[in-house]
């Protein structure tokens, strides 16, 4: 093993240890509020009922929606619930805390730690109860599978998993890029609204939208492609264009968000700490 390889392996191990410590602290903190689990379950149940009511209403009026049948749209609702849960549990809370810290000047503390600042801001303050949504979303996908007209092949399942990971990565990198704006404008009070409206717009497969909205949900706010690509995979509707778009958007966003983060750090000048 060369020195470079060994140094890289050490960095990865260090990052994994930091992540594990933060997750453990977060879990201990959140477990103090066990009642929140039941509220979260109730909240998720309501949310799912809401999604199912809309699906039922839509399909009581029409047999298919731009080619999407009931079981396929149900699977899309499941994927949306999973990705939305990841956003609310793992992505939004830590990055919101980072934005608050930048506004107050408390971000200095993070920069003085002997670890990558992006890693540190991404692993703290996770809302573990929101992960209930991920589990419930997976259950919805499982329930939808028997209703899928063409069943699920091994290649569909493999593509689903790959694109779900790509969708989660898109979600994190998109939100990180947006959060970086705080280094330029100090306050982003619309971010919670943005999460609400953006996730709402992503709840249906982008294939049912008009062209301008479809392009917007792929390029400008790519959460649409993050949900649609795995949903299409599990419904055996995946085209190469959608799969390639999702992977390309994930790759570009990954590089762009890291570049933006490094530029943002250079811009930061803490007011106090």
């Amino acid at each position: 093993m060369t020195d470079t390889t060994r140094a890289r392996a050490d960095r990865v191990r260090h990052a994994a240890e930091i992540t594990a410590v933060h997750l453990r602290v977060t879990a201990h903190n959140e477990l103090q509020y066990r009642a929140n689990f039941f509220f979260q379950l109730l909240q998720t149940a309501w949310q799912v009922i809401g999604g199912l009511v809309v699906v039922a209403l839509v399909y009581s009026k029409t047999p298919e929606l731009n080619g999407w049948r009931r079981g396929e749209l149900l699977a899309a609702v499941g994927v949306f619930t999973m990705i939305g849960g990841l956003l609310r549990a793992v992505v939004y809370p830590p990055l919101q805390q980072m934005m608050d810290d930048v506004g107050k000047g408390d971000f200095d503390h993070t920069l003085t730690q002997p670890a990558d600042a992006q890693l540190l801001v991404s692993v703290r303050g996770i809302n573990i109860w929101q992960l209930t949504d991920v589990v419930v979303g997976a259950v919805i996908v499982a329930v939808a599978i028997p209703d899928l007209p063409s069943g699920v092949s091994a290649s569909d399942a493999a593509a689903f998993i790959v694109l779900l990971v790509a969708g989660a990565a898109i979600t994190y990198w998109m939100w990180l890029s947006l959060s970086c704006l705080v280094f330029w404008v100090i306050e982003l009070p619309f971010m919670s609204n943005l999460m609400h409206y953006v996730t709402r717009a992503a709840q249906y497969p982008i294939g049912i939208y008009p062209a301008w909205l479809r392009v917007s949900m792929t390029v400008i706010v790519p959460l649409g492609i993050a949900v649609t690509a795995p949903a299409e995979a599990i419904a055996s509707r995946l085209s190469w264009v959608t799969a390639a778009s999702a992977i390309a958007v994930a790759a570009v966003l990954g590089v762009f968000s890291r570049w933006l983060w490094q530029r943002a750090l250079r811009r930061y000048s803490g007011a106090s700490a």
Binding site: F39, L42, V58, K61, T62, L194, I208
Partner: protein, 283 residues
């Protein structure tokens, strides 16, 4: 602190209402100035609140087109009228998050409000009334674009326009009171995120935001008419887009006033009990 806080200092009786009106005018003006000062945030808010109904509109127009041009009496143009008006009403109905109360209680910042000679709810209402006015004006060009793009089918009379305008204020008051009541549960709970989440989803389902109430199944329509959400959101929209009878307009306005009274009394009850539990060492 709890004993002191249990009684909010009262305004002098003479000129009390005039003083209250002065507070509303001053706070509203401040909100308008803030909205104008932070124009970027105002524009983002406009774009976001417009995006939500556009998505619903795309879905329901698709359903209408694939089921012979209409769904339960809703044509493509009527869906457009509903969701274009939805954007305006949604923008006007934004009010303070219950999470603000959590911060006020946990950090002790509520202590400062307790020294003011008026209820904190008035401050909330006056603040959001100002933002509502600023956003309503800013929405006009957006609305014009939507009308040209989607050609909504309005069936509107002068009385309906008057009822629509009249219904916006009680609707905003209802939403602010609901948010404040949820926020005041911070006196009992360390985190109200989950309570707020449950209420928010009930609101989404039963207010006419996900789907016009007329398209809901019978049991859901009955439930939504028994709760305040529909009267505070879908009613103003239906009042404007029509067709609606004068009796239905008057009944809707009466229901709004009834809910304002009920929610106000509930808020007073929660406030009186909650503020006795409040104990802060700073603020």
């Amino acid at each position: 602190m709890a004993d002191v806080a249990a009684q909010t200092p009262r305004m002098p009786s003479a000129g009390r209402w005039r003083s209250l009106a002065d507070v509303y005018v001053a706070r509203s003006k401040t909100s308008i100035q803030l909205a104008v000062q932070y124009r970027f945030n105002l524009v983002v808010d406009l774009v976001l609140t417009t995006a939500e109904p556009i998505v619903y509109l795309a879905v329901w127009q698709l359903v209408a087109n694939s089921s012979g041009g209409e769904v339960d009496g809703f044509t493509s143009g009527r869906f457009a009228a509903y969701y274009v008006t939805f954007g305006f009403v949604r923008l006007c109905m934004q009010s303070g998050s219950p999470g603000n109360w959590q911060h006020l209680v946990q950090r002790g910042d509520l202590s400062g409000y307790l020294l003011l000679p008026l209820h904190p709810v008035h401050i909330d209402m006056a603040t959001w009334l100002g933002f509502c006015l600023a956003r309503a004006v800013a929405w006009v060009p957006v609305g014009a674009i939507l009308v040209v793009a989607y050609r909504p089918d309005f069936d509107t009379s002068v009385w309906q326009v008057a009822a629509f305008i009249a219904s916006l204020v009680p609707a905003l008051v209802m939403r602010t009171l609901i948010n404040d009541i949820i926020g005041m549960t911070s006196f009992w709970f360390v985190s109200i995120v989950a309570i707020d989440g449950v209420m928010r989803i009930a609101e989404n389902l039963l207010s006419g935001r996900i789907v016009p109430p007329d398209l809901l199944p019978g049991w859901a329509q009955t439930l939504s008419k028994a709760l305040p959400f529909e009267w505070g959101f879908a009613f103003p929209i239906e009042a404007l887009i029509g067709p609606i009878s004068t009796a239905a307009l008057l009944r809707g306005l009466a229901m709004q006033l009834l809910w304002v009274v009920v929610l106000w009394m509930l808020m007073r009850l929660v406030w009186r009990r909650g503020v006795r539990r409040y104990g802060a060492v700073s603020g």
